[in-house]
Symmetry: C2
DNA sequence: ATTGCAAGTAACTCAATGGTTACTTAACGG
DNA sequence: CCGTTAAGTAACCATTGAGTTACTTGCAAT
């Protein structure tokens, strides 16, 4: 059977890197918004303004694309998050705020948490390594007497992550409690302030360390 | 055109309540596991061992069923969660533990958080009311001097929810930090212990309240 | 008894969706 | 230059999956 107008190649110059990048960006937006099951391959292709076929060309299938998106975001976050203060009084408000600057990150993590049984995660090795780095810095702070030694550093780390990520991850519960949207600037300032004060809980019992200067 | 074997009614006795219940249970399991987009109506029907048509008969459409599931669970949790201790030292470990006894609840909340933009949530009125009840009890504790007054009770409530729900909501991040699965009993005991001690952060500055008796 | 309706069954529909086929052409090493 | 490969296009396709059609029947009130 004679097919009609097939193919019909490029009138514009080729640019694999740009195409790959466009797909990843569009996929990030779509997956973050809709999750894996809810995301539509055609929507991604349209948003990226590329031919759907290219998506399969570069990433194999939907699953592969999802993994690639996750991997890229993980790498990005790991890169700029690696070397920052580990003083809770600074770190808690800071991480809390960044959660709202990059909602896609939080959402991606949430989708990841919901997929499968929680085993076999993407880029496990690298992520574990950077977590270990963080824990090490916490332990150093403990020996330096800047952080309470009565707690397991892993528990402290987990508590810190909980406090900073939860409101962005569960905006509906936050709104229920606060009466305002998490997007509200006032809430973000107030809760950041709360976290700064609350960070006292992480300091050693009898250390009356005074924070930077702003008050 | 002559259709063949249509209909062919019940050889077993009818029981609308049982059928509705079976659908809701199956739907709860499926929605909690797969989310709205990932859930399959046919799977729910099969799991409930009912005819798919009945699902539409009772709940209109997939969306209606999802809402019904959420509503039922919300009501259930509200019922038995209403009147419990509001002393953080008890409440934190308690709620932390219950998060693992009913993983579907956490997952449902997470799916809810991810759907839409965070506005218009199900049973908003009732949920807000019971949240207000909680906040009121926290305020009472504050005036009784059992809870620090230097913090907004809403911030305290949000922090408490963060600390207790996060590990169940993000098992992969918890595993990254702890090195073990959240399902691990040891982790649950340890972190419950951590929360109990950590609850000191919620008590007034110079109150040296001694907790119950254990340890 | 009859009849009205909710409860129930099985087969059918059709749009949406992930993935493919079949083809074209820019680019680049030999 | 020339052939092989990678980048690109558009139409096509098989399947899935939400929702329906068309029918049957238990049960309760008249």
């Amino acid at each position: 059977m004679a097919r009609l107008g097939k193919g019909g190649g490029g009138l514009i110059a080729r640019n694999p890197d740009r195409t790959r990048g466009r797909i990843l960006s569009a996929a990030l937006a779509e997956f973050a918004a809709q999750g894996f099951a809810g995301a539509r391959v055609d929507v991604i292709a349209r948003r990226a303004a590329i031919n759907k076929r290219m998506l399969y060309h570069y990433f194999g299938d939907k699953e592969g694309l999802f993994k690639a998106v996750l991997r890229r975001k993980v790498a990005e976050r790991r890169a700029w998050g690696e070397n920052l203060s580990s003083d809770p009084a600074e770190r808690l408000p800071f991480w809390f705020k960044t959660a709202f600057d990059d909602p896609n990150w939080i959402r991606l993590l949430a989708w990841e948490a919901l997929r499968g049984d929680g085993q076999k995660i993407i880029d496990e090795k690298e992520r574990r390594a950077s977590t270990m780095g963080w824990l090490k810095r916490l332990r150093q702070r403990q020996t330096r007497g800047e952080l309470s030694v009565e707690f397991d550093p892993r528990h402290l780390a987990l508590a810190m992550q909980s406090l900073t990520m939860f409101p962005a991850a569960f905006p509906q519960l936050t709104r229920l409690i606060m009466g305002r949207t998490v997007a509200d600037g006032k809430f973000q300032r107030d809760y950041a302030g709360f976290l700064e004060k609350f960070a006292a809980a992480f300091r050693p019992k009898n250390s009356k360390r005074v924070k930077k200067s702003n008050a």
